[in-house]
Symmetry: C2
Subunit: 414 residues, 2 copies
C-alpha cells in the first residue's frame, strides 16, 4: 500500500515549529504494518492543491495535517474541496460543538471559527474533543483505485486522539480489505555502549539466525536504539539474541526514556529515590515525575543551585566547598549522603557540574560533571564524566547518565 504524508504549514519551514508528526505517524503506522513511502512539507498556500493532486495520483492512503484552523492562512479544507470539486456544507453537529466549546470557556465565539464547521460533501467528520476543527475523511477516485484521504488538525494534542480513535480503525479496515500481512517491529534501547560497538555485537549475534529481517541503528535519548523489523514467527529468536548482547546495557524495548525503566525497577523493588541537583537544575526530578506512578517512589527533590544552599539544605561542609570547589568528588558524595539522610529515601542521586557556556576553568572545563549515588547498605559512590556539548544537551546527557547509574544499582549490576 502506498502511503504518503503531507504536512502543511509555513511555520514548519521557517524553524519555528519542529515537525513531530512524521515521527508520530511513522511509529503508529508501523504497528499496523504500514510504512510511509514519502513525506512532504509545504507552506500554506495554493501549492497544497498541487501537492495533494500529485499524491492522489500515486498513493492509496494520504494523511494531511494542518491548515484547518480559523485564521486566514488556514486553507487545507477549502483547497481540498476545490481540488475534488466538492461543495462545502455547514455541518450542524460541528457548529454546535464549536459553539459549546466557546461557551464552556466563557468566551464569545469569534466569527472566524464558523469556517471550521464547513464539511466537504460526502466527507466523514472525525470529532475533535481537544480543539475546534474536526478531522475529515474523504475518498477520491472509485472502487479499487480509490485514494483514502485524511485531513487532520496540526496541533499534536488535537491530532493524536483523533488519530488513535478514528484514523487507526479506518486504516485497519482498509488493510483488512487488502489482505496484507503485518510485520513485527521491535526497538531495543541500550545505554552505555557506543553505536559502532553495539552494531558490531548485534550483527555478530544475529549472524547465525536464518530468515529475512531488517536491522537499523540510531542514537537517541543518550543511548542507542537497535531496530529490528521481521515476520511474526521470527521475532522470538531475534529478541533473545539481541537482548543478550549486553544485558546490563539493555534498558527496555519500545521505550527510550530511561527514567521509565528506573521507576518500574524501583516500584518492583519497593524502593524510593530522592534527588539533589545543582547543574541539572531540576531536570532529573522532572524526568522521574514525568512517569505516571512515580509518586510511589519519589517524595522530594532538592535543587541546590547555589553553594550556600548546598550547605543549608544538604549539610555539605563549607570547608569542603572552599577546599575542593562545588564541582568535585567530595562534594558530589556529600550532597548524595546529605540528601539520603534528610529524605529518608532508599537511594539518593546527586549532580554537580558545569553546564556552560560560561563557568569553565583550567582544571574544570565546561561539560565536566560529578554524579553521586548513595544507597542504604552501600558505600557512597561517585563517577566523573565530560559532556562537550551545549547547555541543554549537557543537562539531558548528565541527567540520563545519573538515572541510568541508579537503574544499574537497583537492577543489581553493581
Amino acid at each position: 500500500m502506498e502511503l504518503e504524508v503531507i504536512n502543511t504549514g509555513t511555520e514548519l519551514l521557517l524553524g519555528q515549529v519542529t515537525n513531530t508528526h512524521v515521527g508520530y505517524f511513522g511509529e503508529k503506522l508501523l504497528d499496523l504494518g504500514l510504512r510511509i513511502n514519502r513525506q512532504i512539507t509545504v507552506p500554506d498556500g495554493e501549492i497544497i492543491k498541487e501537492i495533494l493532486a500529485e499524491a492522489i495520483s500515486r498513493a492509496d492512503i494520504i494523511l494531511v495535517t494542518g491548515g484547518l484552523g480559523p485564521t486566514s492562512d488556514d486553507l487545507t479544507r477549502e483547497l481540498s474541496a476545490e481540488l475534488l470539486e466538492l461543495e462545502l456544507i455547514e455541518d450542524e453537529g460541528v457548529m454546535g460543538a464549536i459553539r459549546l466549546r466557546f461557551e464552556e470557556a466563557g468566551v464569545a465565539m469569534p466569527a472566524a471559527n464558523r469556517r471550521q464547521a464547513m464539511v466537504p460533501e460526502g466527507a466523514e467528520v472525525l470529532v475533535n474533543n481537544n480543539g475546534t476543527a474536526p478531522g475529515l475523511y474523504l475518498t477520491a477516485g472509485i472502487a479499487d483505485c480509490r485514494t483514502h484521504i485524511f485531513l487532520l488538525p496540526g496541533p499534536p494534542r488535537e491530532l493524536y486522539p483523533i488519530f488513535q480513535q478514528f484514523v487507526v480503525p479506518r486504516l485497519e479496515a482498509i488493510i483488512a480489505a487488502k489482505g496484507a500481512s503485518v510485520p513485527v517491529c521491535r526497538n531495543y534501547f541500550f545505554m552505555g555502549l557506543g553505536e559502532s560497538e553495539l552494531a558490531s555485537r548485534v550483527e555478530c549475534a544475529l549472524g547465525n539466525i536464518a530468515g529475512q529481517f531488517e536491522l537499523g541503528f540510531c542514537l537517541k535519548g543518550g543511548g542507542v536504539i537497535v531496530r529490528c523489523i521481521c515476520k511474526e514467527g521470527e521475532i522470538t529468536a531475534l529478541d533473545t539474541a539481541i537482548k543478550s548482547v549486553s544485558p546490563e546495557d539493555y534498558v527496555a524495548e519500545g521505550e527510550f526514556a530511561v527514567e521509565v525503566n528506573l521507576v518500574k525497577c524501583l516500584r518492583i523493588a519497593g524502593e524510593s529515590v530522592a534527588t539533589a541537583e545543582s547543574c541539572t537544575g531540576g531536570l532529573i526530578a522532572n524526568r522521574i515525575t514525568n512517569v505516571p506512578g512515580s509518586s510511589r517512589v519519589f517524595d522530594v527533590g532538592y535543587v541546590t543551585y547555589a553553594d550556600q544552599v548546598k550547605q543549608e539544605l544538604l549539610g555539605v561542609p563549607r570547608d569542603m566547598l572552599e577546599d575542593f570547589g562545588a564541582v568535585s568528588e567530595p562534594v558530589a558524595k556529600a550532597m548524595a549522603e546529605g540528601c539520603l539522610e534528610r529524605s529518608g529515601a532508599h537511594h539518593a542521586i546527586s549532580l554537580t557540574g558545569i553546564a556552560g557556556p560560561d563557568g569553565g576553568s583550567e582544571g574544570k572545563p565546561v561539560g565536566v560533571v560529578w554524579i553521586g549515588l548513595a544507597s542504604r547498605g552501600y558505600d557512597v559512590h561517585a563517577r566523573h564524566y565530560r559532556f562537550k556539548t551545549d547547555r541543554l544537551n549537557f543537562k539531558e546527557r548528565a541527567s540520563g547518565k545519573a538515572i541510568d547509574l541508579l537503574r544499574r544499582r537497583v537492577s543489581g549490576y553493581f
Copy 2:
C-alpha cells in the same frame, strides 16, 4: 528562486529520529532571503533518484541530507551520480582525510569507509571536519536553467558546520547573481491571548498600514507566535503596531521560551526567584536554569512531591493539608510564602495540582492546578487553572503559566 529540501533516511519515517534539518535550514535560509518551497522525506532506496529527478525539473536550489555514510543503506552519492550520468572518482584528498581521522582515533579504517572518498566527476568537495563523508556540491543543466545541488551529511554536528562554512557563501553568490532582495522576518511571541482573538486584533491594528507583508499565526510554547515577513523599510511601523496590540501579553520577539524573558526581567530588576513545585516535579526550576546566567537570579528550588515534605520543607501546616487537601488555594499560598521565607528570594512561585492520568476526583479532576506567587512587598497571590491534557503537556502548560505570571509581576503589570 525555487528551493527544495530532500531529507533521506528510513529512520526519519519510523518515529525514531525527529527531522530537525528542516527547522534549521528554514531559519538559516530566511536570513539569506530564501524560502523553502517544498520539503520531502524519503526512505533509503532507489526512490531517492526519482525524487531528485522531479526536484531538478522544478527547483533552482536543492539541499539533500543523509545517505553519505559507509553502510549498505547509504545510497545518496551513488544514486545522484547515476542520475546525472557522472562517473565516481576516488578523491585523494578526501581519502587521505578519512585515513587520518581513523589514525587519530587509534582505530583501523574499515574497508566500507572507502566509498566515502568517491566524488562525482565535476563535483566540489565540501570538507567535513566532524565526520568522514564530505559534503558535495554539483550542478545539473546549463547556464540560467542550472540547478544547484548540495549533498550533505545527516548528523547535525557534521551538517551545521559544513552548511555555515561552505553552503551559505555559495548560496549568497547564487542570490547575488540573480539580484534578489532580502525580506525581513520577525516572530512576536504572546502568552495569555487565544489565537483567534490575537489574530483578529493584529489584523485590525495592521489594517491601516500600507505595503506588502505576510502574516502568520501558530501555537507554540503555551502561547501564540505572530509571524511577520516584509520588506526592510516596512518593519518599523509593523513592529510598533504588533507589539502594542496587547503589551502585557507580549513576551518577546524571536524567543518562544517565556523563561528566557523572565530571567532577563529579573536580572534587569536585580531580583531573584525560588520555586516550590509539587505536580510540575522540578520542571519550572529546570526551565529557569536552562537559561544561561540564571544563577544570578535563582539559588534554590524545592520539589515537594509528597504532602509530608510540603510540611517539613516549606512549613505548610498539617491541619491545612488535611482540611483543604494539597491541591487548594490555601496550600498553594502557604507553599509560596514558606518558600519565600526560607529561600530569602524576592519572589517565590508554587504549584500544586493533578497532572494525571490518575489522581482526579469529583471536585478536583485531572488537570486542575493552583499557582501561588509570593513577592516581597505584595500580598500573596494564587490563581486557579484547568489544563485538560496529558501528563507531560499538563506539566509544560502549568509551568509556562506560572513563569508567565511571575513575568507579569516583575514587569509591573500587577
